[in-house]
């Protein structure tokens, strides 16, 4: 069976599954509520689940991800039925038993949890552990089948998992981007055009759907960023260290496969009534909405586990599996960035999980953590939430800044200026990041005087960030810059420029008095899109263009790479400048409509056009990415003339990485020092395993 053929049958089954699922959902809904609801949640729910599962069945048959999804659906239904049965025995009937969304809220939450766990069993992510528990032996390595099929099932190879993460991230980026295009279209002009109050989808009105899409755009993008970073780290870090895999290959696979049910849960939240809270999920608003809010909380909760376990694995790998001679100050700089990122993910993610869990319990069990009527405090939630969610921003960017530092020396043929300072600045940002969270809460009603120390700590972040910028400029200064600039260099330089704009627009938000004006406006939206594009999106693309030959043995098309860059960069700059401008003039965040009298119509139209141009450029990238896997120019050698160990062996990388171990004998970035070497392969000896 060839690939194109099976994708074709997958698409066919996607359509059939969607139609059949829609029909079943419509029928069930009609039986429960007494009348069919054509745009309702239950029909949409069955259509989504059936079509996705059928697609993978067509592509891959009943194994791997297909089996996982099937088990997730079955687990969700069984869990939901279990709770529904208990409620029935407790004497509940009718709408008290079912609620408006096929299951009642407690049944959904329990079912979703059972479903997520079932997925992991179904896909096979816990097979080896179950065997160990039963006293059976498993081989150290599971040999993967050659070809693309290994990517749709459980593999323990860090390179396969890295690519699984990356492709999942690209899928979610596309979904999150699609959501943005939908609401960006509504915003193109003032007044409500199609998301009106008479519009109905998934039991929501137009403004409610806007809120749900806007909130999901945020959270889906955040999850895709975490997955994208995990993808690059998984693929690259062991190669940079000279390791044959991650420290815990099974946990590595487990962490990746957690992300799939998490993504399903997040998408379910849109269908099950949506959630109107923004990705921040502040109570009391989040303690009121429909069951979709719970799916959102659960999705983030499961994705958080993925992030924590992945970070633990990276740290263990860096600590235990470095090549001989690779001392702390001879680590590739990207490894330092990965360590800083992982420290934050490992220690802060619990807090967002906890804060969401508290709201879940408040809804399910009536515990009044954030309910003022029961002595709770809504502002407490914000402290817990931001204690993770601010450091999380540094998770998003630190890794990308590491990619910039890693790639620059290769393309300017000069050592990274002030290596130690750059390495330490990553740790500095990570640590300072833990004491700045309340700058998101200057208008929240927290203690007035506490705002001042948080202003000091927040502004302090500028110092290590400045060290990075100055060091990059000094690295470029006097270099021999590759001309014409290859695509990875374009994205690296673009990243510096865009992140600079994000960085410079940060201090005004940190300064309490100015933030009283800027908070919750489009200025903030523009500012953080700058930081995220500069800190994640541009470096992520740079990394994909740069390491693509390592993974596939082929290059991505340079021409289309440049089109991607030159289309995306100006559109993006106009987009964020426009956002910041109208934000200063009075455009609030998270609104489906704005006063015509504000005179923002033209700007919003331009912003929408820019949004579509960015989407077009990403589409060009995606086509280039998937096409080049098969048809790209063959490139098995040291494409970028890099000193890094992974480029000293032919591409694509073999299954267990380096056949011969290497030893670190010099500095990583000594470009221009004649006769210097970073690594030396051990003289050929008995075959290593």
């Amino acid at each position: 069976m060839t690939k194109s053929k099976s994708v074709g049958s997958g698409l066919l089954l996607l359509v059939i599954g969607g139609v059949v699922g829609y029909g079943i959902g419509l029928g069930l809904d009609a039986v429960i509520t007494g009348k069919p609801n054509f745009s309702g949640s239950v029909a949409g729910l069955f259509a989504l689940l059936a079509s996705v599962t059928a697609f993978f069945f067509g592509v891959f048959g009943y194994r791997g991800i297909t089996r996982g999804l099937t088990w997730q659906v079955a687990g969700t239904i069984l869990g939901g039925l279990f709770v529904t049965a208990i409620r029935f025995l407790m004497g509940m009937r009718g709408s008290a038993l079912f609620g408006g969304f096929f299951f009642s809220e407690p049944a959904w939450v329990f079912g979703a949890l059972v479903g997520a766990v079932s997925f992991l069993f179904g896909v096979g992510a816990v097979d080896d552990w179950m065997k160990w528990a039963r006293g059976l032996d498993t081989p150290d390595h599971h040999e993967d089948v050659p070809g693309w099929e290994k990517y749709l099932g459980v593999s323990l190879d860090h390179k396969v998992i890295g690519i699984q993460y990356t492709v999942t991230a690209l899928v979610l980026i596309s979904v999150g981007g699609l959501f943005a295009l939908i609401f960006r279209t509504e915003l193109a002009a003032s007044q409500l055009q199609f998301l009106t109050s008479t519009f109905r989808l998934f039991n929501q009105t137009g403004p409610q759907i806007y809120n749900a899409l806007m909130s999901l755009h945020g959270m889906v993008m955040i999850v895709s960023i975490l997955l994208g970073i995990a993808g690059v780290m998984n693929y690259v870090v062991p190669l940079l260290l000279g390791a044959h895999d991650m420290a815990f290959p099974r946990m590595n696979a487990f962490a990746f496969w957690l992300a799939v049910p998490a993504a399903v849960l997040l998408l379910l939240s849109l269908i099950l009534g949506g959630f109107e809270t923004g990705w921040t999920g502040y109570p009391p608003l989040s303690s009121r909405g429909p069951v979709g809010v719970q799916m959102f909380f659960l999705g983030v909760f499961v994705a958080g586990w993925s992030s924590i376990l992945g970070a633990l694995n990276v740290l263990a790998t860096v600590l235990r599996m470095r090549a001989k001679g690779m001392t702390a100050m001879r680590l590739p700089i990207l490894v330092w960035a990965s360590v800083a990122t992982s420290i934050i993910s490992l220690t802060a993610t619990q807090l967002i999980g906890l804060s969401f869990q508290l709201v879940m319990f408040q809804r399910l069990l009536g515990m009044g953590f954030f309910d003022p009527a029961k002595g709770g405090n809504p502002v407490l939630f914000q402290h817990l939430f931001w204690f993770y969610s601010h450091p999380a921003v540094y998770v998003f960017v630190l890794h990308g800044l590491g990619v910039i530092s890693e790639l620059l020396p290769v393309f300017v043929r000069k050592p990274l200026f002030g290596y130690r300072w750059v390495a330490m600045s990553s740790l500095g940002i990570a640590l300072v990041g833990f004491i700045v969270w309340a700058h998101h809460m200057f208008t929240s009603g927290m203690n007035e005087y506490l705002r001042v120390p948080f202003m000091y700590s927040t502004l302090l972040v500028a110092v290590p960030t400045g060290v990075k910028f100055f060091s990059w400029v000094a690295t470029i200064w006097g270099g021999k810059i590759a001309t014409p600039a290859p695509t990875p260099l374009l994205f690296t330089v673009g990243a510096i420029f865009v992140f600079l704009l994000g960085g410079l627009t940060g201090p005004p938000n940190a300064t309490v008095s100015v933030d009283l004006h800027l908070h919750d406006t489009y200025f903030i939206v523009g500012h953080f899109h700058d930081t995220i594009f500069g800190g994640f999106v541009f470096p992520f693309f740079a990394a994909l263009y740069y390491w693509f030959p390592k993974a596939t043995g082929r290059r991505m098309n340079e021409f289309w790479g440049k089109v991607h860059f030159w289309l995306m960069t100006p559109s993006f700059l106009i987009l964020t400048f426009g956002m910041m401008r109208i934000g200063l003039l009075g455009m609030r965040r998270r609104i489906v409509d704005y006063d015509t009298a504000l005179g923002f119509d033209t700007t919003h139209l331009v912003l929408t056009i820019c949004g579509f141009l960015i989407a077009l450029s990403v589409l060009i990238f995606l086509i280039n990415f998937f096409r080049s896997m098969k048809h790209g120019e063959v490139a098995t050698g040291n494409v970028w003339n890099s000193r890094s160990p992974e480029w000293q062996v032919p591409s694509p990388m073999p299954a267990h990485n380096y056949g011969v171990p290497f030893e670190v004998v010099g500095e990583p970035y000594d470009y221009g020092l004649p006769g210097s070497k970073y690594i030396e392969f051990a003289p050929a000896q008995g075959k290593k395993h």
Partner: protein, 335 residues
């Protein structure tokens, strides 16, 4: 050396151009409060710093990309420069110093926006999904619009009855959340007569976008005249049930969702003709739109939802039976 001189000149040029460009772009809305003055000054200082730092990074970067390009046919590496510890210390210490200066200035600027006038006029602000009401305790008047005398500090004591909202008038700059279960404060001294809008800045549900109401700053004489009129209306209205009902409707911001005589929101059904006509319910049945139905719909809004409004959750307002009866009397007057 020549490179450094050229870049130095270009940095200064670029910084000045950037600042002039940003400054002349009119970045901020009209300055209409005393609190806006220190904020705008602080913002301007930030723009100066931004312009300088922008030039400091971008100019040498772009210069390098243009001037230090690899010549055709050159395959050698660049000069081996690993770093410069003195330089690194300089660009750690100087920004640290700048940061402390800005934090200090920021603290001062904040203090100026918080300055309290002991003679400030108190206004109690209530936010709810999705309307505002303003109570003037000195006068016994409650309004759905905020009217303020120019040049006099107003001390807003704010709370919410449901979820978190945020009080923001862009022309006044300052912003403060309204938190259920507690009272938050904001002090504003309007300095310019005119008409603006308070806009809810914290997402609060489906109609968050439309949670806004006019703010009018007027001369003290105009304000006094308006207030006298309001006070007279209050005492007049208190005499009849429908008058009391209308006052309650205003105090509770009902028209944010329910249109009265064509004015108001469309999130809930219009009240004109609500009394006396058959009501089609979401489950397909019909009920007479009588006093009992209206009373029940205010008391427990989810009991019988009108067709077309299934997804809208109306809150309960904690009204007494007499108050509800007054509101129903008011609705009965609307044809």
């Amino acid at each position: 050396m020549r490179h450094f001189v050229v870049v130095g000149i270009l940095v200064i040029l670029m910084a000045v151009l950037t600042y002039v460009g940003l400054d002349s772009a009119g970045l901020m809305p009209v300055q209409a409060s005393a609190q806006a003055v220190p904020i705008d000054r602080m913002w301007n200082e930030q723009v100066i710093a931004m312009s300088f730092l922008f030039a400091l990074i971008v100019v040498p970067m772009v210069y390098s990309l243009l001037v230090f390009r690899r010549k055709k046919g050159d395959t050698t590496d660049a000069a081996h420069v690993e770093g410069n510890t003195k330089l690194e210390i300089v660009w750690t210490i100087l920004p640290l110093f700048a940061v402390l200066v800005f934090a200090y200035l920021g603290g001062n600027s904040l203090a100026q926006t918080l300055r309290a006038d002991p003679d400030a006029m108190v206004v109690k602000v209530t936010g709810r999904q999705w309307s505002w009401s303003f109570e003037y305790p000195g006068y016994g008047v409650t309004s759905t619009e905020l009217r303020l005398p120019v040049g006099k500090q107003v001390y807003l004591q704010m709370t919410s009855t449901d979820v978190i909202h945020s009080f923001w008038v862009p022309e006044f700059r300052v912003k403060q959340d309204l938190v259920p279960g507690r009272v938050t404060e904001l002090r504003i001294t309007p300095t310019l007569e005119g008409s603006w809008k308070v806009r809810c800045a914290e997402i609060c549900g489906a109609a968050h976008y439309s949670m806004q109401t006019p703010v009018t700053v007027m001369s003290q004489a105009d304000f006094d005249a308006w207030m006298a009129g309001e006070v007279a209306l209050v005492s007049e209205a208190a005499a009849t049930p429908e008058g009391r009902g209308e006052a309650l409707v205003r105090a509770n911001g009902c028209t944010a969702c329910h249109a009265v005589n064509g004015v108001g929101g469309n999130i809930g059904p219009s009240w004109n003709g609500a009394f006396g006509e058959e009501v089609k319910l979401a489950d397909g049945s019909t009920v007479p739109g009588d006093e009992a139905y209206l009373t029940e719909s205010i008391k427990s809004p989810q009991a019988k939802i009108m067709a077309g409004y299934e997804t809208q959750l109306m809150p309960t307002y904690g009204l007494t039976d007499e108050q509800i009866a007054d509101i129903v009397s008011f609705i009965k007057t609307l044809k």
